[in-house]
């Protein structure tokens, strides 16, 4: 039962499950593409923000390059008054960490630096001729600006702690004679900018990397520029590179890796800067060693939380679908079983009906049989009634007449003459009662012993009792033909008596004018039942006259032949006692044919 229920359930549930999978897939795709759009917008926003910041760096750096400095510029002594007015401006820039002038040899001749993240003070001068940004700066022509890659600030060749991510803006400076007198180097503190970039405006994680996918900053990492710290020999737990991602070159793209959705947006300062044209009086040529990449990552954890309601809906829907379908399947199977049981019950009833039909038919046959035997009994009773009312009443009335006459008669001679008549009547009454007794014996027989009798053997036996026949003195042949059947169930006593009567009649009523007389006993099957024909070529009976009386008591049809008219009456009675029937066909001069239906 449960196996069937589960089968139906599986058939019903599988398409629904498939459908929900398809639906959840498309819904996920849709939501994901929405998320990616948000991330792309976030990345674009951050790129713009970065561009604005960088533009301000460029602008700020360019400002110092466009000032006409005094000839033999010495800001620390001769031209301290000149520089004082600018110190106020420098102090106004929150992001300035160091402000330096370097001569054409790369030596600092002015250094104004922030101390302990607070106020800016003059610092001790250093020789920076070996630093790459100095060399790049010294190569700059008028109108050119160099922005260094972002890195951690080093003082005297050692990483300054706390780590200080900086970008250096470098521009050439010129005196009033339009002679290049050195470079201005401004260290911009990037912490504030990076922190602002890291501030989440979307759902994703944020990375800012260089073109080699080294992580400059990220909200997922404790240090900015961690790779530089690692390069300096300090061990950090985190990986500060996105090189594990399957992306060879920095391009604008979206992709999925290990459950995370990444959005990459390349920040090409030189290219993007052109779009900012117009805010500068003269457009600076910007030289920068590296491109940046803005990376937004939607983490699997976030996606998991984001899609949780979807999964929850999916689970709840499927949970109820499973319950409903299980119940449905159960009822389908149950109703199917009930139907099957109904059919089984129906079949059983049908069988029972067929059985009772057969029984009814059987009863019907029995009733028909009983009916037949009742009808025979009825005929026999009528016969008996007739017998009593005619044959018995006749001598009795005669007797009463004689008695009346005796009463009236006075002459002794006449009385004497009447007495022998009384004896005759009495005799005939005696004979009649004897015949009735024989008949009653047959009628009254309730349990007649029935056996399976071989008829031709019985005929042979009966034939022997007729000694005349045996000796060949009577010209009668007894013939038998039992090809179709040999034996029949009947009373041996009755059948013997019946056969005796037939043979006796065949002898008595043989036609002496014929050269050869015979009686033929023939067994036939008609309509499925056994039939015995007894045919002879005797004198025959006029059935037109006597047809109704052939089997009646005391009926005789041949004046010259002795007989009481009892034989065929008894034959009929004996046959009917065992539900067999007899009929006759005859033609005078040709012979007689009896037909017995067993």
């Amino acid at each position: 039962m449960w196996k069937k229920v589960l089968k139906i359930f599986a058939i019903l549930y599988f398409p629904i499950l498939l459908l929900t999978f398809v639906l959840i897939f498309y819904q996920k795709e849709e939501q994901l593409s929405g998320l990616v759009q948000v991330e792309e917008r976030g990345a674009a926003y951050k790129k713009n923000y970065l561009l604005d910041l960088y533009t301000s760096l460029v602008f700020s750096t360019q400002y110092w390059s466009e000032i006409d400095y005094p000839v033999a510029f010495d800001p620390m002594r001769d031209h301290s008054g000149f520089i004082d007015s600018y110190i106020e401006i420098i102090n106004g820039f929150q992001d300035y960490d160091q402000f330096r002038f370097l001569d054409l040899k790369g030596k600092e001749f002015f250094r104004y630096q922030r101390e302990d993240d607070k106020n800016m003070v003059f610092g001790p001068l250093q020789n920076k001729e070996n630093r790459s940004y100095v060399q790049s700066g010294l190569a700059l022509k008028r109108g050119e600006i160099f922005l260094s890659a972002i890195d951690l600030n080093r003082e005297n060749g050692v990483l300054e702690t706390p780590y200080k991510p900086v970008v250096r803006g470098v521009a050439p400076i010129f005196n009033t004679l339009n002679e290049k007198i050195g470079i201005v180097v401004i260290n911009y503190r990037m912490s504030r900018i990076l922190n602002q970039l890291k501030a989440q405006i979307t759902n994703g994680n944020f990375y800012l990397t260089d073109a080699n996918f080294n992580i400059i900053t990220s909200n997922t990492r404790p240090y900015d520029l961690g790779y530089e710290i690692q390069k300096s020999g300090k061990a950090l737990l985190e990986n500060y590179s996105l090189t594990h991602l399957p992306l060879k070159k920095a391009i604008d793209t979206n992709f999925v890796d290990q459950g995370s959705v990444y959005t990459f947006k390349v920040f090409d300062f030189k290219k993007d800067f052109i779009s900012k044209e117009g805010i500068f009086s003269t457009i600076p040529i910007i030289i920068t060693p590296t491109d940046w990449v803005i990376v937004q990552e939607i983490s699997p954890e976030f996606l998991g939380t984001w899609f949780l309601p979807l999964y929850k809906d999916f689970l709840i829907f499927n949970f109820f679908a499973v319950i409903v379908l299980l119940i449905l399947s159960y009822y389908i199977i149950k109703s199917r079983q009930q139907q099957e049981q109904f059919y089984v019950a129906l079949e059983a009833k049908n069988k029972a009906l067929l059985g009772s039909k057969a029984q009814l038919e059987k009863n019907n046959y029995q009733i028909q049989d009983i009916n037949k035997s009742l009808s025979i009994k009825n005929d026999q009773l009528k016969e008996f009634n007739y017998l009593v009312s005619h044959n018995l009443r006749s001598p009795v009335t005669s007797l009463s007449v004689i008695i009346d006459m005796l009463k009236e008669e006075k002459e002794p001679d006449k009385i004497k003459a009447l007495l022998p008549k009384m004896a005759t009547v009495s005799n005939s009454i005696y004979e009649l009662t004897e015949d009735i007794r024989a008949y009653m014996a047959i009628l009254d027989q309730n349990e007649i012993k029935v056996e399976f009798l071989n008829v031709s053997k019985l005929i042979a036996l009966v034939k022997n009792e007729f000694s005349d026949l045996m000796l060949g003195e009577q010209n009668l042949k007894v013939l038998v033909d039992f090809k179709e059947w040999e034996a029949v169930s009947f009373s041996k006593l009755y059948l013997k008596s019946i056969l005796q009567n037939f043979i006796s009649n065949a002898i008595k009523y043989r036609d002496t004018e014929k050269s050869e007389s015979y009686v033929l006993f023939e067994g036939k099957i008609e309509n499925g039942s056994k039939v015995l024909y007894v045919r002879d070529n005797g004198v025959g009976i006029n059935l037109e006259r006597h047809g109704a009386n052939v089997f009646k008591l005391y009926k005789r049809f041949h004046r010259n032949i002795s007989g009481k008219g009892v034989g065929l009456f008894l034959v009929k009675s004996q046959l009917e006692a065992l539900n067999a029937q007899i009929s006759v066909d005859s033609k005078e001069g040709l012979g007689t044919s009896f037909k017995i239906n067993f």
């Binding site: 009634n385 007739y386 009312s389 005619h390 044959n391 009443r393 006749s394 001598p395 009335t397 005669s398 009463s400 007449v401 004689i402 006459m405 008549k421 005759t424 009547v425 005939s428 006259r545 006597h546 109704a548 009386n549 005391y554 009926k555 005789r556 049809f557 004046r559 008219g565």
Partner: protein, 136 residues
Amino acid sequence: MKKGNILLVDDDEIYLYLVKKILSKISERIAISSFTDGEQAINFITNQTEVHQEVPEVILLDVNMPFLDGWGFLVEFKKLKPKLEKSIRIYLVTSSALPSDKQKAKEFQELTGYFVKPITEDNLKNILTEVYETNF
């Protein structure tokens, strides 16, 4: 008075004896003949008719007889009737009072009367009076 001619047909010899005795007692002028079965009786009447001899005016016919019973006689008589020169009155005298026999008797127009045995002297007197229109 005209001489009567009565035929008795019955297989009961005692009956025949008794009826003859009664009839002779009633009148000596009645010729009585008898047969013990229907076949002899019908053969007799047929023969008499063929040779234009006298046939009886009255037949007292029994029902239950060998060779040809009363009914059989009536059937044969019906065939013979057109050839008869004078009418014959047939009285059925039966030992049975069965309703079926009485019913069957009504079907034969050849029958004049129906008696149940024993037939009495009065019965016979009535028959003779009816036939010969004379009081016996």
